[in-house]
Amino acid sequence: MSIQDRVIAIIAEQAVLDPADVTLESSLDDLGITSLGLVESIFAIEEEFDISIPFNANEPTASDFDISSVAAIVKGIESLVAQKV
């Protein structure tokens, strides 16, 4: 599975949606993911890829990690996974 498919699978599970219904353009808000759900998703993604995502719920936009859409998250994860190697 590609990074994109794996991230979408995690987000879909959190949003209780079919992965097919999670589009790259969706924001987490569109998908009905709350701030607590976001923290859980980030944890699940970190576990899946063995990476650390710089994210503080008090200032979600302050870090370089963009969470504005599924596409932005996938891009961020790809970059963190690439840095790991």
Partner: protein
């Protein structure tokens, strides 16, 4: 209904090992938060906290006591000794039979859990010390205070996360006010600053890596603290008859439940608790001069709390002072309301308002007088102490100058 006064106060926290030391630090706006020091701290992303320094359990407690006292119990006993000594009370006869201990803690013996899990999971040991259970149980501190001071009345532990101490003190107040007990030892303590205790909080992603800056626009989360606050709540006539020094009067309280979200605070729940405390104390909102805020330094708490204050107090919200001393001693979780009650006592008795330190940028969503960075002299007649816990459980206490 009886009147209830505070005749003894004790504490140990990152600002000091006694009430006078803590008051001095609060007056000076000193920060007790610094780099954490304990085993495996290098495996944490969050490495700061309001840790109690130079507290030597050895010498203070004997070997047998040490095997039974988790750090949260040690803190409690240190604070209780200061409070009960100050009160001058000796619990004997009917006074002992009817007076008890109600204390708050969220985690109880967290470091005892931590140490023993490490022993059995990480080190593979198959045997633990026989006193692990009596050492870690949440009521251990209350029980040891009862044994140490011969308190034989109603005694128990309250655990409502960050509101534990306020719920405990509210309960103790209600017991004295109703005539059920002539005096109660109350407050709370917490000691979560160990690897597992901080790691758990880290997971929530609400912790700051650099400082606790309540109400400041650039705030980025909470910082944990540790310690204890213990008080003697006594029936007014009982205290007067023996010529006790009275620190202030406890005049009311309210508790409310948001019934909404397990972590996100609710403006309505907080407002109902504050308004309820005013109603219970039968005072007008215009009498309140100071609020010790819950003020955790998270994005969510501070703006919700300020909105709730604005709702309850209307135009008076702009006249009163509200500060968060968590900026100095950190968030003591289940012990926090007890240590923060000291700031209310200092405001009422000494006329000194503890500041919110670390305040750097005004936040339009927290547009109240937060007593930024520097303590202030002011005469205050009535003070409130707020605590709003995870789980949506709130408790507010009202106190009056005497």
């Amino acid at each position: 209904m009886k009147r209830v006064v505070i005749t003894g106060a004790g504490t140990i926290n990152a600002l000091g090992h006694s009430v006078p030391e803590t008051f001095e630090a609060m007056r000076e706006g000193r920060c007790g938060i610094g780099p954490l020091e304990f085993r495996d701290v290098d495996r944490l992303a969050i490495r700061i906290g309001g840790q109690v320094r130079d507290f030597e359990a050895e010498g203070r407690f004997n070997r047998q006591q040490m095997t039974l006292y988790d750090r949260f119990t040690q803190f409690t006993l240190a604070a209780a000794q200061e409070a009960i000594t100050q009160s001058g009370l000796e619990f004997q006869g009917d006074l002992a039979a009817r007076s008890g201990v109600v204390l708050g803690t969220a985690g109880g013996g967290v470091s005892t859990w931590d140490d023993n899990y490490r022993a059995v999971y990480e080190e593979g040991k198959n045997r633990v010390h026989p006193f692990v259970v009596p050492k870690l149980m949440n009521n251990a501190a209350a029980s040891h205070v009862s044994m140490e001071y011969n308190l034989k009345g109603p005694s128990f532990t309250v655990s409502t996360a960050c509101a534990s101490s306020n719920h405990a003190m509210a309960q103790a107040f209600a017991m004295v006010r109703s005539g059920m007990a002539p005096a109660m030892v109350t407050g709370g303590s917490e000691s979560m600053l160990c690897f597992g205790g901080v790691k758990a909080w880290e997971g929530l992603r609400v912790m700051s890596k650099d400082a606790c800056r309540p109400f400041s626009l650039n705030r980025n989360g909470m910082v944990q603290g540790e310690g204890a606050g213990v008080f003697v709540f006594e029936e007014y006539e009982h205290a007067r008859a023996r010529g006790a020094e009275i620190l202030c009067e406890v005049i009311g309280y309210a508790m409310s439940s948001d019934a909404a979200d397990i972590v996100m605070p609710s403006k309505q729940g907080a407002a109902r608790a504050m308004a309820g405390a005013l109603a219970d104390a039968r005072i007008d909102r215009s009498e309140v001069g100071y609020i010790n805020a819950h003020g955790t330094g998270t994005a969510a708490n501070d703006k919700t709390e300020c909105a709730a204050v604005a709702d309850v107090f209307g135009p008076q919200a702009d006249k009163l002072m509200i500060s968060s001393t968590k900026s100095m001693h950190g968030h003591l979780i289940g012990g926090t309301g007890a240590v923060e009650l000291l700031a209310c006592i200092m405001a009422l008795r000494d006329g000194v308002i503890a500041p919110t330190i670390g305040y750097e940028e005004p936040d339009p969503e927290c547009a109240l007088d937060v007593v930024p960075n520097t303590a202030r002299e002011a005469r205050v007649e009535v003070a409130l102490s707020n605590a709003f816990a995870f789980g949506g459980l709130n408790a507010v206490i009202a106190l009056r100058r005497i």
